[in-house]
């Protein structure tokens, strides 16, 4: 199959689907037919294209093209390789179930679908672009669609969360533009390859300008990934959004910019210094996120804090990989395990948001102190087979890294590879605290003697299909973890390494470690019920999403990175 004719399809097709829905809406024909057609064009066809492209990426073919056939130094560069394939696959794996789930929520349905497909296109474009200004445009489109989707919830709190996120992120993107300006000024170009060519021969003042510009770009992009100290916006935005949107944003959208950035980082000198900072930022994110999750009493906020913690794993492995250099064995394995973990977390977190969201809707409360016996409530509202409870259990196992799930492999492999660096200890502590935090969340499903009042019945068809799809991915991924890991390593080969390394790691050989982690977690959970522990947890300051705090975090990140690069 011709790779050139297919690789832009994941951008064009969702846009086409979106246009179709707009047209249908304009003619007052926003029917189920248009919706299904859009689903086929916007999500299923890109999946087919991706499947057709698989042989090409396995053979390490890549396409470098200039959109619109402009001259190389004028046009926008797009680059398709194994990394883009994996990022688009990551997005599709979550967005297809999420779209099916969203059918169960009829309010604002048309607007949701239209914006949803534009977002799909922006994600694909972000993972393909090799041009700095185009990256800015893609990130902005991704951002604007996120703001709209977050605010599409009927709750008023979602509007405030969306507004805060918008102002913070839009301001950061202005700094991104200044960074792009700086790089354009000293290198005279905006495409990654041309920037790298010139940048490596810079010296003196020009080099400092280029490094500082790079810092502005990296920090502004990392803001979208919600790494501590840039994570203040996430909790409000992801916990107030509709469940389907939370699942998509928390699962996928925070990881795409991180991996899109790798193309730029690989091209410039002294990226290993950025890598070492990122490794520590990841470890700190992991611990800080989970500590804040532990003190949370609201289900969706707990999940959102846990996202900050889990992205910490991805960022830590990513940073260590860049520090080690992707051509080395350690670097190649680490970046593959970072991307592998991104898959693990994306699927598990989407499943958690969808199942817990549905359960809290049935309960009528998100408060962990009040909600009990969610399964009974779901049954009362018309669920015949307890699929929501079962899939919550599967997601719980995956995120706690218990066998036989995908997360069991992902987390253990990642901590194994990160060994030897300080942040690996932070990640181990986080693994224990994660189980404790999720046990705390599980009280929603504990049976209680309270009688279940009459609740509104609803149909669970679409919800069940979507949850089953995600659960199946977790279980099958757990079985085929080693081939998947090998596949990812193969696809990422063009990033630098010369051969497909194999870690030779088998998570089942370390079941004892999992057992110890679980024992510690159970011990901590029992301990956590005591008044003393509660008082201690209450002392952890709640992170506030005030503007001065957000910008303080931004300034801190800028200073640290700038100091590291210019010294």
């Amino acid at each position: 199959m011709n790779i050139e004719s297919l690789f832009l399809a994941p951008i064009y097709l969702p846009l086409l689907a979106s246009a179709l829905l707009v047209t249908a809406k304009a003619f007052g024909q926003a029917s189920k037919v248009a919706e299904s057609l859009a689903f086929l064009i916007g999500l299923m066809l890109p999946a087919v294209c991706l499947a057709l492209l698989t042989p090409a990426v396995i053979a390490h073919q890549s396409v470098e093209t200039v959109i619109g056939a402009w001259e190389t130094n004028l046009g926008i560069h797009y680059h398709f390789d194994g990394l883009s394939w994996l990022l688009i696959a990551l997005h599709l794996a979550v967005s297809i179930p999420v779209f099916l789930y969203s059918k169960s929520n009829p309010s604002n349905r048309e607007t949701f679908s239209i914006i949803f497909f534009i977002q799909c296109a922006s994600v694909a474009a972000t993972s393909l672009t090799a041009d700095l200004f185009n990256l800015f445009v893609c990130l902005e489109v991704m951002g604007v669609t996120s703001y709209v989707l977050i605010a599409s919830n009927d709750e008023d709190g979602s509007v405030l969360a969306s507004f805060t996120y918008l102002l913070f992120s839009a301001t950061a993107m202005v700094f991104f533009l200044i960074g792009a300006f700086g790089l354009y000024r000293v290198t005279g170009s905006l495409s990654y390859a041309l920037i790298a060519e010139v940048k490596n021969s810079l010296s003196g003042n020009d080099l400092i300008v280029a490094q500082l510009s790079l810092v502005l770009i990296v920090v502004s992009t990392l803001l979208r990934c919600a790494v501590v100290p840039l994570s203040g916006w996430l909790v409000g935005a992801h916990s107030k959004a509709p469940h389907a949107v939370s699942a998509l944003l928390s699962g996928v959208l925070i990881k795409i910019p991180l991996f899109a950035l790798i193309r730029l980082l690989l091209l410039v000198t002294s990226s290993e210094r950025i890598g070492s900072i990122l490794a520590w930022a990841g470890g700190i994110s992991a611990v800080a996120g989970i500590l804040l999750a532990l003190r949370e009493v609201q289900a969706k906020r707990l999940l959102a804090y846990s996202s900050v913690s889990q992205i910490g794993y991805v960022v830590a492995a990513y940073g260590l990989a860049i520090e080690a250099g992707l051509e080395s064995e350690r670097g190649a394995l680490l970046i593959a395990s970072s991307l592998f973990y991104a898959f693990c977390h994306a699927i598990a977190k989407a499943l958690l948001f969808l199942s817990v969201g549905t359960a809290t809707d049935a309960l009528g409360t998100k408060d962990l102190r009040k909600g009990r016996s969610a399964a009974a409530y779901l049954k009362a509202s018309g669920e015949r087979v307890p699929i929501i409870t079962i899939s919550y259990g599967i997601a719980l196992f995956s995120i706690s890294a218990l066998p036989p799930t995908l997360g069991f492999w992902g987390k253990n492999m990642l901590t194994y590879l990160a060994k030897g660096h300080g942040s690996a200890y932070l990640l181990t502590i986080t693994a224990i605290l994660t189980i404790t935090a999720y046990l705390k969340l599980s009280v929603l499903f504990l049976p209680s003697k309270r009688p279940v009042p009459a609740v509104k019945t609803q149909s669970f068809g679409a919800i069940h299909v979507s949850l089953l799809l995600l659960s199946l991915m977790i279980l099958l991924g757990g079985v085929f973890a080693l081939p998947i890991q090998h596949f990812i390593t193969t696809l990422l080969l063009p990033l630098g390494s010369n051969e497909v390394y194999s870690s030779g790691y088998n998570a089942y050989h370390e079941l004892a470690k999992t057992f110890v982690t679980l024992t510690f977690a159970l011990f901590l959970t029992v301990l956590g019920c005591s008044t003393y522990a509660r008082n201690l947890l209450a002392k952890i300051p709640a992170s506030s999403a005030g503007f001065s705090n957000l910008f303080f975090g931004y300034a801190l990140a800028l200073t640290v990175l700038a100091f590291q690069l210019v010294r």
Binding site: V137, D156, L160, A170, V174, L177, L190
Partner: protein, 114 residues
């Protein structure tokens, strides 16, 4: 060019102060616009370092500006307009829900509801 640069920096700082320091959400949106305007001006100023004529290849045009920053800024302006429109729409919804434009009052009132 140094005076222009100082003026742009002042514009930028005033925008940033509005976003971080002001409590009125409409003013915050204005601040965002000032920031955008400052960056647009910076790019345009930079593009005119090598010439000052419109980049249309015609007779007598010898020293034209660098057209790339201008093309980029057209895009940036369009994005800026979208973001402004969306943020104003959100501001309207916040005002309808809470009856205030003050970010602190809005936060308090929304928290009290829950």
């Amino acid at each position: 060019m140094i005076i222009e640069r100082i003026l742009i920096a002042l514009l930028f700082l005033s925008g940033f102060t509005a976003i971080v320091g002001m409590r009125n959400i409409i003013r915050k949106v204005f601040g965002l616009n000032l920031l955008n305007a400052a960056v647009v001006l910076l790019f345009i100023l930079e593009g005119s370092r090598i010439g000052n004529q419109a980049p249309i290849l015609d007779e007598g045009i010898t020293t034209m500006v660098d057209p790339i920053p201008q093309a980029l800024m057209l895009t940036a302006i369009v994005i800026g307009v979208c973001v402004t429109a969306l943020s104003l729409a959100l501001a309207v919804r916040l005002y309808r829900a809470t009856g205030s434009l003050d970010i602190q009052v809005i936060t308090e009132r929304l928290q009290r509801e829950h």
